[in-house]
Amino acid sequence: MSLTSECELLECIPLFKHVDQSKRKLIAMSSDRLTFGPNEMVFREGDPSDAVFMMLNGAVRVIKQDEERSIELARLSGGAVFGETGVVCDTKRSATIVTIEETTMLRIDSRIFMELVEQVPQVAVALTRELADRIERTNQRLLSQTAAAG
């Protein structure tokens, strides 16, 4: 897979949908393309947030460790971005990510990601929009749960 095809895949990721082609190339160029085998751990809950991951293909499980057991919170597939909240808020990993099948991702170092956010306004705007969308979705879910409970 070349840089051009990575950029095409990045275009499908909502976070980078409105970012120029040249800036998507910059993001891809600033990243490492990594291939994980099935059942490989990408990172563990509690690890330092040292990178943002952009899934090009494959699938992963998001697992939260409870006191006694592991709870699968979600499954993510190609086009998903994860790890950015921990990087931006400088918190530790809130969940463990394990691959389900062979998965290719772009990994961008947290320090480079933050430099991109600082230096490339389009990336900062896209990130802000994505985070705001998530808050909005969470609010909507809370509202509907409250309504259902009431």
Binding site: S22, L26, A28, S30, D32, L34, M105, R111, Q119
Partner: protein
């Protein structure tokens, strides 16, 4: 020297007269004498002592010999005059340079004593230009200031007196002409100078207006203002023409007058002098000598006039420069090291009625009054817009623009000299300041406070003394090893590594070390140790599940993790164009590329890389860290790429490329690594061709080019390659998940056992941080800045937002580390309004401009004075008011 030169000058004027009168006209040979005596000297004495004392009887000459002797004597005095001028000019030049050096140094030294707010207002480029360029004519003039008028004035006076001695009338004429020159010409020149300045101003305004019109051209077109704009520029050009015409008139009028005065004087000499000569009151020799003396008169007078004008110009320039550096707001000068009285470690910080206001008078810090115990750990909590930043900056001597007083013990913080303050405290700002150089240099610069002893005085030290400069130079060992608990360089290096480890940079240092080359002066033992380590690492990796993470250097295989050039050469190229064999190597390299059909693919790759670089990096600022790290091109070359692309993409462009453009494109391709750059440019066919070319290069490399390449060889250390390549003898697979981290972890565990980890850290210290630290990430820069202060163990550490580049967890960890290291010393740290510092002895909270102190005697810090019997009586977490007698005071805060 000038006075000594005058008799020689006089003689050079007098001898021509004697040549004409005595030798040519034969006055020395009157009354039929065939010989005349020359060089006879006698000393007149009173009659009682014998009348006179003959020193030399002289030498007898016939008329021709007499003429030749006088002529050679004249030549001797001419040579002496020249020699005097030479020596005086040299001395004058040296004096000028010495004074220029003194002036520059004093300006720099004075600027270094500016108070913080004043130095922040200084524009670096302006100050540098002032010290470098603007004082140059001032310093240069200092040599002329006294010598020139003395030398020229006395020379002119000698010539004038000589003329007067020959003839009072001719002397009076010469004096009158000189007076006219001395007063009229400068007067006319003043107007010329005024017009010159006017021309400069008018030209500058014209240029500004043209620039403005170019900027506003669209608006001019929209509103049809072209005619009006043209009329304005025409009018300005007309004004400029008038000034220039007036200037020309004045300039040539002065020239005309000068020439006229110079020419008219000989007229008087010929007419009046000739009249006296005919009447017999002046002999021909005297007339010739007067004319010769007058020829020497105008140049000194003219030069004196020029000197006066230069003096006026230089005075203006001097005053302009001095205005910028004048003022009383200076820090005290550094006393001698043994005169600095240490401030006791328990002397409290006493802040009394300290107020900072903005330009409108609004208080930013309002009447803060508090006494902070030392040693203690103090937290300043508040938002960045509160008084927090103002007070910590006052404490750290970063601003002195306040009312009220801040004392540590008996010393006012603002009145301490740098040397005194640096001995007591260290301030770490939020913005890490980095210098070009290595990490070690950036950390240890804070220790360079111990001037080396001067072994022997030499010409340079004497010259420094004469110029008022320090006699000690920056060369030599300036390190204050004791402050870092070290005794020599190698121990200091260990302390730097330890300190960087305390601020969380140990792993970074390790990574940097791995990228560095083996030291050029590496011993054979070290090389043997590296080869042993290479073998051990290869065995250990083979026995683990990590063997597949390394792609080894194998002559028979294309290595995906290596650049195209590395693959082609299977070694490291020494890119020093001055090395013998460089030209031959390039010719050979290109011929191999042609022979193996690599030329066209390399050009095509270069074009693709150039296009990508232009697309991705074109609008990033030059020197941007992302550009530096990921671009395949140098920042200087980015501007050339569009032209290269245009040439290469033209019809038959590849075939018609100029050789320089082709070389640049091939160079771009040479740095390409497929898994890293991922442009999909490496095909299996290309790999095959490169492997063929690799064999050709190895087989046919000319003898003269042997030193250009250091081939990868499993049995030898590759001194041109990074130590990581030497240890792994291969490259980490960049596209395998976590390969880099796993291999790094593996090496970190293996190398201590192999005795090489000290070498890696030491090499890491040599990593170049780049201009302004651009080769480091923000948090690495902040860590280096922290380490710079920590390494010299000051009594008081002041941290103003020094952790802003770090994440929350790392900040907390760093503060814990620093507080543990600073038990028994004073640390002042800022926290945000939403943060709750734990375990600090004293917490000052800031609410807008108001400050409030909270003392926590239950803290874990050792800052408490356990011998204080009243300590237990003080309330934990208590607020104490200013009117109490307690050591800890709350502060009164007032807003006006």
């Amino acid at each position: 020297m000038i006075l000594a030169s005058l008799p020689f000058y006089w003689m050079s004027l007098d001898i021509p007269k004697r040549i004409v009168n005595d030798a040519l006209q034969g006055r020395a040979f009157e009354a039929g004498a065939t010989e005349a005596t020359l060089f006879s000297f006698s000393l007149p004495l009173p009659e009682a002592l014998g009348g006179s004392l003959t020193i030399s009887d002289g030498f007898a000459f016939d008329q021709l010999g007499y003429l030749l002797a006088l002529s050679f004597l004249f030549l001797f005095f001419v040579i002496c005059n020249g020699a005097f001028k030479y020596v005086i000019n040299i001395e004058k030049g040296i004096l000028s340079e010495r004074m220029l050096r003194r002036l520059r140094f004093e300006l720099f030294a004075r600027m270094m004593r500016f108070r913080p707010e004043r130095i922040r207002a200084v524009k670096p480029a302006e100050a540098a230009s002032m010290i470098k360029d603007e004082v140059e004519p001032v310093g240069g003039f200092i040599g002329d200031a006294f010598i020139q008028p003395a030398f020229l004035g006395l020379q002119a006076m000698t010539a004038l007196i000589f003329i007067l001695v020959q003839s009072v009338w001719l002397g009076a004429v010469a004096l009158a002409i000189v007076l006219v020159q001395a007063f009229l010409i400068p007067y006319l020149r003043r107007e010329q100078l005024r017009l010159g300045r006017l021309r400069q101003l008018a030209s500058r305004k014209l240029a500004g207006r043209i620039g403005e019109m170019i900027d506003t051209a669209p608006m001019i077109h929209v509103h049809g203002l072209k005619t009006r704009s043209e009329a304005e520029i025409g009018n300005r050009l007309g004004g400029l023409f008038d000034i220039r015409a007036a200037l020309y008139k004045r300039k040539f009028a002065v020239k005309y007058l000068n020439n006229l005065l110079a020419q008219i004087t000989p007229f008087f000499f010929y007419a009046i002098g000739g009249y006296f000569a005919l009447r017999g009151t002046l002999d021909i020799g005297q007339l010739v000598a007067v004319i010769a003396a007058y020829r020497d008169l105008p140049p000194p007078v003219k030069e004196l006039i020029d000197w006066d004008q230069r003096r006026a110009d230089v005075q203006i320039k001097y005053e302009q420069v001095i205005t910028q550096f004048a003022g009383e707001t200076l820090l005290p000068d550094d006393p001698a090291p043994d005169e600095i009285k240490p401030i006791p470690a328990n002397a409290p910080i006493d802040v009394r009625n300290v107020t900072v206001t903005d330009q409108r008078g609004t208080p930013l810090l309002a009447s803060a009054t508090l006494e902070l115990k030392r040693p203690s750990h103090i937290a300043f909590v508040g938002s960045s817009s509160s008084g927090r930043d103002h007070l910590i900056r006052i404490l750290g001597r970063q601003t002195s623009n306040h009312t009220g007083r801040v004392f540590i013990g008996k010393r006012s913080v603002g009145e301490m000299s740098d040397a005194e303050a640096a001995r007591l405290m260290s301030f770490v700002p939020s913005d890490a300041i980095m210098f070009s150089g290595s990490i070690a240099e950036n950390v240890a610069i804070s220790l360079q406070r111990q001037p080396p002893t001067i072994e022997a005085r030499n010409r340079r030290t004497r010259e420094s003394e004469l110029s008022g400069n320090p006699i000690v130079t920056d060369e030599g060992d300036w390190f204050d090893y004791r402050a870092a608990d070290a005794s020599d360089q190698s121990e200091l290096k260990r302390r730097i590594v330890e300190t960087l480890g305390r601020v969380g940079m140990r792993d970074d240092l390790y990574g940097f070390g791995m990228q560095e080359r083996i030291p050029a002066d590496a011993s054979d033992e070290l090389k043997a140790a590296i080869l042993d380590a290479r073998a051990t690492i290869a065995n250990d990796l083979a026995a683990s599940d990590m063997a597949s993470l390394i792609e080894p250097f194998d002559f028979a295989r294309f290595n995906d993790q290596m650049s195209l050039r590395e693959n082609l050469l299977f070694g490291v190229l020494d890119e020093n164009p001055d090395k013998p064999g460089w030209v031959e190597f390039n010719t050979f390299y290109q011929s191999v590329a042609y022979a193996e059909a690599l030329y066209r693919p390399a050009i095509e790759m270069g074009l693709r890389i150039a296009e990508t670089a232009v697309e991705v990096f074109a609008d990033l600022p030059p020197g941007h860290p992302i550009f530096e790290r990921f671009s395949m091109v140098n920042v200087d070359e980015l501007g050339e790429l569009p032209d290269l692309i245009r040439l290469g993409r033209a019809d038959n462009g590849v075939d018609n490329l100029p050789s320089e453009a082709a070389t640049k494109l091939i160079d771009l391709a040479a740095g390409y690594i497929e898994p890293r750059h991922r442009l999909g440019l490496i095909t299996p066919e290309l790999k095959e061709r490169i492997l063929r070319a690799r064999k050709s290069i190895r087989r046919h490399l000319p003898e003269i080019c042997r030193d250009q390449i250091e081939f990868y060889d499993a049995k030898h250390v590759i001194t041109s390659a990074p130590i990581r390549d030497n240890l792994l003898f291969g490259r980490t697979a960049q596209n395998t998940a976590n390969a880099e981290q796993r291999i790094a972890e593996f090496l970190r565990k293996s190398l201590p056992k192999l005795g090489l980890d000290d070498l890696i850290y030491s090499l890491g210290l040599d990593y170049d941080v780049g201009p302004g630290g651009r080769n480091l990430f923000a948090e690495q820069r902040a860590a280096v800045s922290l380490a710079r202060s920590l390494i010299r163990h000051p009594d008081m550490l002041i941290l103003e937002e020094a952790f802003s580049a770090f994440g929350r967890d790392r900040k907390a960890q760093l503060i814990d580390n620093i507080r543990a290291d600073y038990a028994g010393k004073t640390v002042v740290v800022t926290f945000g309004a939403d943060e709750t510092p734990e375990g600090f002895d004293q917490v000052v909270t800031f609410d807008g401009p108001r400050a409030m102190l909270k003392t926590d005697t239950s803290s874990t810090s050792q800052s408490r004075d356990d011998s204080d019997p009243d300590a237990d009586d003080r309330a934990d977490d208590d607020l104490v008011t200013t009117d109490g007698t307690e050591a800890a005071l709350a502060m009164k805060a007032e807003t006006s």
